[in-house]
Symmetry: C2
Subunit: 558 residues, 2 copies
Amino acid sequence: MSQRVNATEPSKLRIVSLGGVDEIGKNMTVFEYEDDIVVVDCGSIFPKEDMLGVDLVIPDVSYLVAKKKNVRGYLFTHGHEDHIGATPYILRQVPAPLYGTKLTLALVDLKMKEHRVPNITMHVVQPRDEIQLGKFTCKFIHVSHSIAGACAIALTCPAGTVVVSGDFKVDYTPIDGQVTDLQTLASLGEKGVMALLCESTNVERPGQTMSEMKIGPTFENLFRDAKGRVIVAMFASNIHRMQMVIDNGIRYGRRVCFIGRSMVNVSRVAMQIGELHIPEDCLIDVDSLDQYPDEEILVMTTGSQGEPMAGLTRMAYAEHRKLQIRQSDMVLISATPIPGNEKFISRVINQLYRCGAQVVYEALAEVHVSGHACQEELKLMHALVQPKYFIPVHGEYRMLWQHAELAESMGMNRKNIVIPEIGQVIEMTENSLSLGEQVPTGGVLVDGLGIGDVGNVVLRDRKHLSQDGLIIVAMAIDRDQGVLVSGPDIISRGFIYVRENEDIIESMREVVRGILRESSLDGADWVALKNRIKDDLHRYIYEKIKRNPMILPIILDV
Amino acid sequence: MSQRVNATEPSKLRIVSLGGVDEIGKNMTVFEYEDDIVVVDCGSIFPKEDMLGVDLVIPDVSYLVAKKKNVRGYLFTHGHEDHIGATPYILRQVPAPLYGTKLTLALVDLKMKEHRVPNITMHVVQPRDEIQLGKFTCKFIHVSHSIAGACAIALTCPAGTVVVSGDFKVDYTPIDGQVTDLQTLASLGEKGVMALLCESTNVERPGQTMSEMKIGPTFENLFRDAKGRVIVAMFASNIHRMQMVIDNGIRYGRRVCFIGRSMVNVSRVAMQIGELHIPEDCLIDVDSLDQYPDEEILVMTTGSQGEPMAGLTRMAYAEHRKLQIRQSDMVLISATPIPGNEKFISRVINQLYRCGAQVVYEALAEVHVSGHACQEELKLMHALVQPKYFIPVHGEYRMLWQHAELAESMGMNRKNIVIPEIGQVIEMTENSLSLGEQVPTGGVLVDGLGIGDVGNVVLRDRKHLSQDGLIIVAMAIDRDQGVLVSGPDIISRGFIYVRENEDIIESMREVVRGILRESSLDGADWVALKNRIKDDLHRYIYEKIKRNPMILPIILDV
């Protein structure tokens, strides 16, 4: 094909994932057509287990910072953390108007207020609304997911139309009665879609995800039989499930008490915007819990992932000021552990049993369904949208690969599929698909108020310190006289229980004294002296006890 | 009931779990009748994620140390780490003869040699053998499990008979043709069993565990279709599965190469003792792999849990000296992640996909079955043994509780069920069941060569250091003159990327200088001075950046 651009041929659409590919989290995709950029989602991800002390990881948006003036807006598919969690950090760097459904923007707004980010314009959209952002026409398309107000988004520019699935499932009997908008997806497919970016979370699972409706009877049965208080732990953002649980509770004569910061905040916001409906007289405050008999109480709380500071965990360990689990309680955990959280939630369940409560969780009853499309639903999405090109997103590498195979099995040419790499620009028109440049990207670590000031060196030190602790060798040397005037003192932390091991500390001091006796201290090269102390002590300790603490020699000049 | 002991009434049997209850791991149960003690199993457990830098956790056996002379022997149900892993540490403290089947003792022997534990007598037993240890008659009973040579054990003393299930499943079509010895269990039940200690790993799962035979066809199909090398990652100790995989490999013209320390060691031992059969000419060494065409190669390797140093992981990341994964390879991971390992194995699978290999794992095909009894098999065990008392073991608290409920659902009186606590003595005769004293117990942490020298204080420091790192404030003071003669120097590790944040380091130094200016340094109380530095700096850093590093003031006297 000729590289010369035909005068009537449109420019290329450029797509680059700043996160969310080869990982589940920090979803953020940039769409760029000539001078116009729109960004879909702006999520965060939990730190990996080797990112010690890090609170949160957000996308590196240097690319957007450099093209700040072109950014026309942020579009949000839905309000989960992996789609909105980075907003307070990134909107400060690259401000632009935000577009999303009512609940999504309400959740973003909570974050903005908490982080005191000023002057961000937010536009609430309805499904099927079309927004014009530069040369992009952006259409929101209702989908079912484990949060209300979830949407796919279709972006049309002169190069063609791209459909971004967002997170979705095809639930034919959703709690709110609104099935994923198959009609709009079908009509886009009929008109012609250039590319589909589709989520891959459940691509390893055959069949169809169970309907959210399916777990209703489980809750109904449990509420009918419950004698004491009922305590339900779940994600606050799953408003539809929350509504279903609360409706069941009210039907069986209970009042609702919200506990846990995000449960309190999200339920308040959801009621304000009319997404959650609870009669005023059915709401009770945690402080008035004691005024009601047990069988009239329904507590909705956080902690379904066993998070140490969340409501359920604190209740189980008797660390909650207002509510402690007792024998007559029934605790329902309506969630599945996010990979890596299995041990935490398992610990909380054990503790709840120890309190004597009746505990119902996923292994024992149908109290949770996934919010993501399984294989047959993914196939439906492909069949409706009939894209020319396919880019699997929102998954680890193996999932993206398997999603590519799924598309191929439906007849798509492998040449029209791109497994995206983070930061790799993909360029397309209806007639061409190619890879562009690699833009700077990656994870930016948030630790306390610091953003990006913790990197590999700092993490390596934290890791080292965490494994075998630290030994400080401190001394003062009069360099002019060449004499040791104080020390060597040995201070250790996290290395060994010192009180019962004074001999090993003393023998380490002796090793250092030996080195000092052999070294000339006047005008000496202290870098070399420090290295010798490090090396000899390291070797001595490793031979003696097979540990490798960090060794820090400190020499003060006097 | 009268406390006076009838002259003809036997003494009480005392049972105490030194591990393996309220946890999955470090199984170790003490049976004590008058002056005779026998110990069943001696396992280790992985450190919890907050036990930073710890290699292994073993049971605290102070109770046995105090009664050393009464210990008649150790009986092993099977050779998994959670049943034999503590032997090299504990046999040094409380030596006694060991009893177990051929493979079990061969695996124990590997450990003893590695740790150079001298002079331990080992007696190989056959299933149905009876051993007399003091007043205990100990009978080994064949059971199916995910390792060869697994046994339940019946202990008979004048007080009655106790059956310890060990880890088991009831596989009616096991690879070796030897079904769990239902006859012996039934005949014990017929004669009368005082108590059953039964494992609870899969008590949350309804139904029956799939037969090991079920996965044979999966492997056969994969081997038939494989074009390049086949690499199988699994636990080395699952000799029967290993045999099945290798037989399939050989049938389709492949030769076997073992890679990974435990794979090499265990397969060698298993062949020596006749548990694993491979024709001599079908074995190839890793160094001669290049001499064979890809389609003739079967590699058996470690790393099925994604362990960073294991064979498969190193192959995937091109860190293995002899073998790297390439596009034509088929990799079979025949295992399920142990809770907590999900992320590690997931990362390795992604990397294998990135290498272009075909990867088959549990989510995609039937390449693994559990080794533990599900609910229906547990019920069969209860129905065969018909115990008077029941003690659920080998499970987290919720599992023990659910196992107690399972027994109750079969008609057992709740009064005859004890959910054991670690270290809590349970005393019984045919006519009485009661709790005795609590003996000292818990986890002893092994870190390098140190056993028990890492405790809560050390772990707390490691945790603290791992989260926000460390700041050292070093200075030298002439106490007589009351003057600062060197410093304050600020040294940080794991706190912040210093080169780009010199201003915060300098401002910290200024905080310390301020304190020193305000303090009288002659004959000053340095504890107070250090505390002031710690407190003020802590407050300053937290306000500035919301982090909480460990702060270590060091003052050298000159």
